[in-house]
């Protein structure tokens, strides 16, 4: 008996080793577990990338090896074993997907219903084999044709690396250099895919990008890379994410987003982040380490970040603006909600380099349960930024007495003509407010939802209409069970 068991174990081990052992077979759908130069080569080969891009990735990887994981954020999580993860997996084939909604987690479907998501979209979101559902491809094709007519390029990052290598080469890493920070460098080495947008001179993008595509742009993976370039006088509004909760097998996410706005260009970037936050004990949630930065490279350019953050177990994210061009404008509007054991450390950086640059920061943090929420922001005015202006408002709302909120604003000014304003408030959802609402007929959850939506109103108004409506519902769902 003992001998049999030993044999079984030995075979298991051998098979296991083979399964996870090193292999550069690019026919495989999955890169072997672990991270080394071969993993990077595997990913690049899989995507059939030009040689320069592979070199770029390898440079980033070598640099990453010398870097230390940052520990300054007010988040705590178990040490990540980077060798114990997969860095590339091909999109799932239809054979792996659920055949119908009957095979999907009922809890997930319940949430979809609460959000009012139509059935077909539910199927697509839950990963039901899409061709069995509806012909989404033709819808996407129609919109792509419309964009093409306007001269707008909107495609996956991998496609852009093939089709528009010159543009990619010219702009990639110019806003977030591969050496920027631990997670951005990791992303530079192993990014899986993402979006590429190019809006040529003078073009106003005829539609909000990604509203119609969001169902189709799945499986972009854990290391997303997005690059958006808007030329002189052009405009784009880009919507990222989805209010519907997305399940992902990968716990570690490290995305990079780079925005470039040339003279008189405007970019509006809206995000709804609803990754799996983990269960009530905080198990299994996503770690979300994101580097997002916009470069107002041209004069009179403008970049706005609007975000609704409700998901992830750990969020580490500071969408920033480099206000390089004279008269350029940066904006950051944020709602960050944390419940149960979620931890959020988020904020923005506004770097004023050009003359008469202005920035506006409105951050609304809502903490419930045992969660912790930190606003961390930097407003920096450099020597030559004559006439720079900033207005910052950070409001925190606490629900219950087990959560916490922190505000860490850094302000540095090297130009005496700068005018910087900072306002911060912390309030608690009061029993009086709850009682008042309930006396008018709302139950406890409806009352919390109404009050929190009121608290976030300034920011919700900045979201594109459809996103705003969905976000309101999302906020309600995120705070379920946070009172009595």
């Amino acid at each position: 008996m003992a001998a049999t068991r030993e044999t079984v174990e030995a075979v298991d081990q051998a098979v296991g080793k083979y399964k996870y052992g090193f292999s550069t077979d690019i026919e495989s759908d999955k890169a072997p577990k672990g991270l080394n130069e071969d993993t990077v080569r595997f990913i690049s080969a899989k995507k059939n990338e030009p040689a320069w891009l592979l070199e770029w990735r390898l440079d980033a990887f070598r640099r990453w090896l010398t870097m230390e994981e940052p520990e300054w954020a007010k988040v705590h999580y178990p040490k990540i074993d980077y060798q114990d993860a997969y860095y590339y997996a091909a999109p799932k084939t239809d054979a792996d997907r659920p055949k119908s909604l009957d095979e999907v987690d009922p809890k997930l479907l319940e949430t979809y219903n609460k959000l009012g998501i139509p059935l077909v979209e539910q199927m697509a979101l839950a990963g039901v084999a899409v061709d069995a559902v509806f012909d989404s491809v033709s819808v996407a094709t129609t919109f792509k044709a419309k964009l093409k007519e306007a001269g707008v390029i909107f495609c996956s990052f991998s496609e852009a690396a093939q089709e528009y290598p010159d543009l990619v080469k010219q702009y990639l890493g110019t806003v977030v250099p591969p050496s920027d920070n631990y997670f951005a460098t990791l992303n530079s080495a192993v990014f899986s895919d993402g979006s590429f947008v190019f809006v040529p001179k003078g073009v106003r993008c005829p539609m909000e990008l990604s509203t119609y595509f969001r169902i189709n742009e799945k499986d972009t993976g854990q290391f997303e890379r997005t690059l958006i370039i808007v030329e002189e006088g052009a405009y784009v509004s880009y919507l990222e994410g989805c209010t519907a909760p997305m399940r992902d097998e990968n716990q570690l996410h490290a995305a990079v987003v780079e925005l470039v706005a040339l003279d008189d260009a405007e970019i509006k970037y809206s995000t709804v982040q609803n990754w799996y936050p983990g269960d009530e004990e905080g198990r299994g949630g996503i770690f979300n380490f994101v580097t997002k930065r916009g470069d107002c490279r041209g004069v009179n350019s403008k970049i706005s970040w609007t975000q609704v953050e409700t998901g992830s177990a750990v969020t580490w994210k500071y969408p920033s603006c480099i206000l390089r061009g004279d008269n350029s404008v940066g904006e950051f509007y944020s709602i960050a909600i944390s419940n149960n054991l979620q931890q959020v450390d988020s904020g923005t950086k506004m770097i004023h380099l050009g003359k008469n640059t202005s920035s506006r920061i409105i951050s609304k943090g809502i903490s419930a349960g045992h969660s912790s929420s930190t606003y961390r922001g930097l407003v920096s005015v450099h020597k030559k930024a004559e006439g720079a202006r900033n207005f910052t408002q950070c409001d925190s709302l606490l629900i219950g007495d087990k959560c916490s909120a922190h505000t860490v604003p850094y302000i540095e000014s090297k130009n005496p003509s700068a005018i910087l304003e900072h306002e911060a408030t912390t309030s608690k959802l009061s029993d009086d407010q709850l009682f008042y609402c309930m006396q008018r007929g709302l139950n406890a959850e409806e009352a919390v939802a109404l009050l929190v939506n009121g608290f976030c109103r300034d920011v919700l108004q900045k979201l594109p209409m459809e996103f705003a409506v969905e976000s309101q519902k999302l906020i309600n769902i995120s705070l379920e069970g946070s009172v009595g």
Binding site: R440, G441, N443, L451, G454, R457
Partner: protein, 255 residues
């Protein structure tokens, strides 16, 4: 004999956690369609009574019963009492930042309708309803667009409360010190609104420290509350007597 709308019997109430008894055996019967005034000095338990009727959880009933429409009121949650027709006009209406008065009213009206199994009103139906009621109470369109009670003057706050009362059409309205913070002109406007809502199927409990309010909202009965007990009950003339003699005399004569 018909069942009275509200029947309170020997009600004893303490503050949760503190154990201090605030109401020490109150009995009060309010038949349908009547207006009862409860008068009393500060600290007599007036506001506690209104909060207990609304179901606020800071209080604990240690003994006694409250029957509303013949049923035990204490079994209902706060919002269920609202849907069942109990309305509390607050002495100090709470500010609701970021939520326009219009949004608040619509959310509340529909929450109550939903709880009663009635169809919810859509935006157009609601707008029509609220505009009609607002006009009658001199509530401007601008006020409806502002966040509820935020930056409202004392008069505006009380008018917003009265507007809610007229929208919800309660069976029992409890007006908690509606006169506080109002000058005489504002008081008249609010009283007019309240009087317009007097109806055969609606009872009111008007809680006040001063007789002044009762010049405008004339009650059917007056009760004097002191030290957690109703020490005297009578007709509207009792309020005038109080005005002359003060609470101290009445308290002493009862003791």
């Amino acid at each position: 004999m018909t069942t009275p709308l509200l029947e309170i019997r020997d009600l004893h109430v303490i503050i949760k956690g503190e154990g201090k008894e605030i109401l020490k055996g109150i009995s009060l019967t309010v038949p349908e369609g009547e207006v009862h005034a409860i008068m009393g000095p500060n600290g007599s338990g007036k506001s506690t009574l209104s909060n207990v009727l609304a179901g606020r959880e800071d209080y604990e009933i240690t003994s006694g019963t409250i029957l509303y429409k013949g049923k035990d009121l204490t079994e209902l949650a706060i919002e269920e009492r609202a849907a069942a027709g109990i309305f509390l006009a607050f002495q100090y209406p709470t500010e609701i930042p970021g939520v326009t008065t219009m949004t608040f009213l619509k959310t509340a009206v529909n929450a109550q309708r939903k709880a009663r199994g009635e169809a919810e009103l859509n935006a157009v139906e609601f707008l029509k309803l609220v505009r009609g009621k607002a006009k009658a109470l001199n509530v401007s369109e601008d006020m409806l667009k502002r966040p509820l009670n935020v930056g409202f003057s004392g008069g505006e706050k009380k008018r917003a409360e009265t507007l809610q009362m007229s929208l919800f059409e309660p069976s029992l309205a409890v007006l908690d010190e509606t006169d506080s913070g109002l000058d005489i002109d504002a008081l008249k406007v609010v009283a007019e609104g309240v009087n317009a809502l007097r109806a055969a199927n609606r009872s009111m409990i008007v809680i006040t420290h001063y007789q002044r309010l009762l010049d405008y909202i004339v009650p059917d009965h007056v009760h004097v509350l002191a030290h957690g007990r109703i020490i005297r009950s009578g007709g509207k003339e009792l309020a005038l007597e109080l005005e002359r003699t003060g609470y101290a005399d009445i308290g002493e004569s009862a003791a």
